[in-house]
């Protein structure tokens, strides 16, 4: 088991943002989490990468506890995060963005005396080709289109070579064609990495959901199953259409 979560709960100002009884992820599994706005999807990823401190619960990554560690420690353990709003270094070139992400020693002295090697250059170019940014390497990242920024951030996460990737709405603001390319990229990545993807776009979810889809509603686990099961589940339909709030309270 790559990731094992138990009884994770966090509330903001009295509102239960997340109350997750159980969540497990196998190694090299691609899991899609869906759910209406405010379901706690992003909060869940925030906790996993150390951005938010939960009130209680347990998170084991590769058998090691994650909670209480700093962002840097968690990143070093092998968890990489892509945010919903593209978060890259806008004033650096695309190449430098990737260079900074590349997995290596990141202490001040290592950075001060860093010398580029062919191995690093090769890897960066390979990943750039994968995300379709080969021609943009010298461009300033701030000048990229929204979709390209999304890809650059995915490239940044890939170059960190994490065992677990947390990908938050990768297809937001992308055209249909770009979305499909992103889907293919994620499927390819899932051969080597465990991935959790948060997504709203059902067409995209259908494309990438190979095994399990998890549905969160109001911070709770509603249902977990294949895409077909989830799509036909009445409770999921209701919560997405937003008319079954009463039912959900009872649930």
């Amino acid at each position: 088991m790559l990731l094992a979560v138990k009884n994770l709960s966090v509330s903001f100002g009295g509102v239960h943002a997340l109350n997750l009884s159980q969540f497990n992820l196998r190694d090299k599994e691609l899991r899609v989490i869906i759910g209406p706005n405010g379901a706690g999807k992003s909060t869940f990823l925030d906790i996993l990468c150390g951005k938010t401190k939960p009130d209680s619960g347990e998170v084991l990554y590769d058998g090691e506890p994650v909670l209480g560690k700093t962002e840097v420690q968690i990143a070093n353990m092998g968890i990489g995060r892509k945010f919903q709003k593209p978060s890259v270094f806008p004033s650096l070139t695309v190449y430098d963005n990737m260079l900074l992400a590349y997995k290596m020693k990141k202490s001040i002295f290592a950075s001060l005396f860093f010398r580029p090697t062919e191995e690093i250059d090769f890897q960066i170019r390979q990943v750039a080709a994968k995300v379709g940014l080969s021609k943009e390497l010298k461009k300033i990242a701030g000048e990229l289109s929204h979709g390209q920024k999304q890809w650059l951030e995915i490239a940044i996460v890939v170059l960190q070579d994490p065992k677990l990737m947390l990908i938050d709405e990768p297809a937001a603001g992308m055209s249909d064609e770009e979305t499909e390319k992103t889907g293919e990229l994620l499927m390819q990545l899932s051969k080597h990495h465990g991935i959790i993807v948060i997504e709203h776009d059902m067409k995209f979810v259908e494309q990438i959901a190979q095994d399990l889809v998890t549905v969160l509603v109001r911070g709770k686990l509603l249902v977990e199953g294949s895409f077909e099961d989830v799509r036909n589940d009445q409770r999921v339909i209701d919560s997405y259409l937003g008319r079954a709030n009463v039912q959900l309270e009872n649930f």
């Binding site: 990468c49 962002e71 945010f83 270094f89 806008p90 260079l99 950075s111 960190q160």
Partner: protein, 367 residues
């Protein structure tokens, strides 16, 4: 292209300041006063490099650089004053004159190390570095940034200013330290020593520029810019932001202190007035006016603003602050990249004009 432009700029700088001004001084065309002024401007430019590293590259708005500058300045001044001390205390050791006026009878313990030139130099850099380390550690660990950082560093500058103003601090109070006679046996009043200090400051500026350039071109420099762009992304990419911020804060403090050490012997006086909040704010302004995020911009800003200051205060003594304010507003409104950006824009227009003229010329010939 970029390289040759750089070399031309460096060449012009060297010819003007290393050849023309010193030669002019030796032949009596350039006054000693001018040489001494420019020597001091170079010191300010060194501080500006530090401000640019901290603020321009890393995005930390530090408003206490003048304090670090004065720590360096005071340590050299203390050494000079000790050497020039004529009075003697109750236990027979010589003590500076101002202490006698304050009825101090024996040398305070922290003055003792400054009798030695070497120790004074080391302490002049060590004290600011340690101070920056301790202060920076607590600020950066509690993730204070932006406006709060500016406020807290200003508060530090203010507190230290008040501390240095007091006679009980034994650093000369409001009057500061003055009456500098000689340093390492060189009389500070002699024109040759003044020229020597000028050249020393110039080479100090060139050296620190070269090192800073190395620093920002390295991967370390890229991490600094990454921190400025997105702190969260930097830490999720596994860089410990605290280490980097602390390192650059110390480098900035060291640059300021180094500049202060070169500055004090050239002015002949150092007072707490040099370290008040306004002085620190002005240092940030040099960089903002010159071009934030470019080392050349920081140097250009410090030199131009101080040169203008000298001219304007002699021509229109009362209106300097208005002129500075006006410059600042214009820069913020129209030239967000500062003087350096302005030069680049004008240069670009000029070049384009040349090209279009060339093209037009060709067309005439062809027709």
């Amino acid at each position: 292209m970029e390289k040759t432009k750089d070399f031309r700029l460096y060449g012009a700088f060297i010819v003007l300041f290393l050849v023309l001004l010193p030669l002019g001084n030796l032949f009596g065309i350039v006054s000693n006063n001018t040489i001494s002024l420019w020597g001091r401007y170079f010191c300010f430019a060194i501080v500006a490099l530090g401000v640019d590293l901290i603020w321009g590259y890393t995005g930390i708005l530090s408003m206490c650089q003048a304090f670090f500058f004065c720590l360096g300045g005071y340590s050299v001044a203390m050494h000079i004053v000790m050497k020039g001390a004529t009075a003697s205390g109750s236990d027979g050791t010589s003590i500076p004159d101002f202490m006698v006026w304050n009825q101090v009878e024996s040398l305070p313990f922290f003055w003792a190390p400054f009798q030695s030139f070497g120790l004074a130099m080391i302490l002049g850099l060590l004290i600011p570095a340690v101070f920056a380390f301790v202060f920076g550690y607590f600020i950066f660990r509690s993730r204070i940034k932006g406006v709060y950082m500016a406020i807290i560093t200003q508060a530090l500058a203010l507190a230290m200013w008040l501390l240095f103003l007091r006679n009980e601090t034994m650093l000369g109070g409001t009057n500061g330290l003055t009456d500098f006679k000689s340093l390492l046996g060189f009389s500070l009043a002699s024109p040759n020593v003044k020229l020597g200090l000028y050249l020393l400051s110039l080479s100090g500026l060139c050296g620190t520029y070269f090192l800073s350039k190395k620093l920002v071109d390295s991967k370390f420099g890229k991490v600094l810019q990454a921190i400025r762009d997105s702190e969260s992304r930097t830490s999720y990419t596994a860089y410990r932001i605290l280490d980097y911020k602390l390192a650059i804060f110390i480098v900035g403090a060291l640059l300021a202190a180094f500049a202060g050490m070169l500055y004090a012997p050239q002015t002949g006086i150092i007072t707490p007035g040099r370290m008040d909040v306004r002085a620190s704010v002005e240092m940030v302004m040099w960089v903002a006016l010159g071009g934030r995020g470019k080392l050349k911009g920081a140097i250009l800003g410090a030199l131009i603003v101080n040169f203008l200051y000298s001219i304007c205060t002699s021509l229109f003594p009362d209106s300097w602050l208005f002129i500075l304010g006006f410059l600042f507003v214009i820069t913020v409104l129209y030239f967000d990249k500062g003087f350096l950006g302005m030069i680049e824009i004008i240069g670009g227009k000029f070049r384009r004009k040349q090209i279009t003229e060339k093209v037009a010329g060709h067309q005439v010939v062809e027709s």
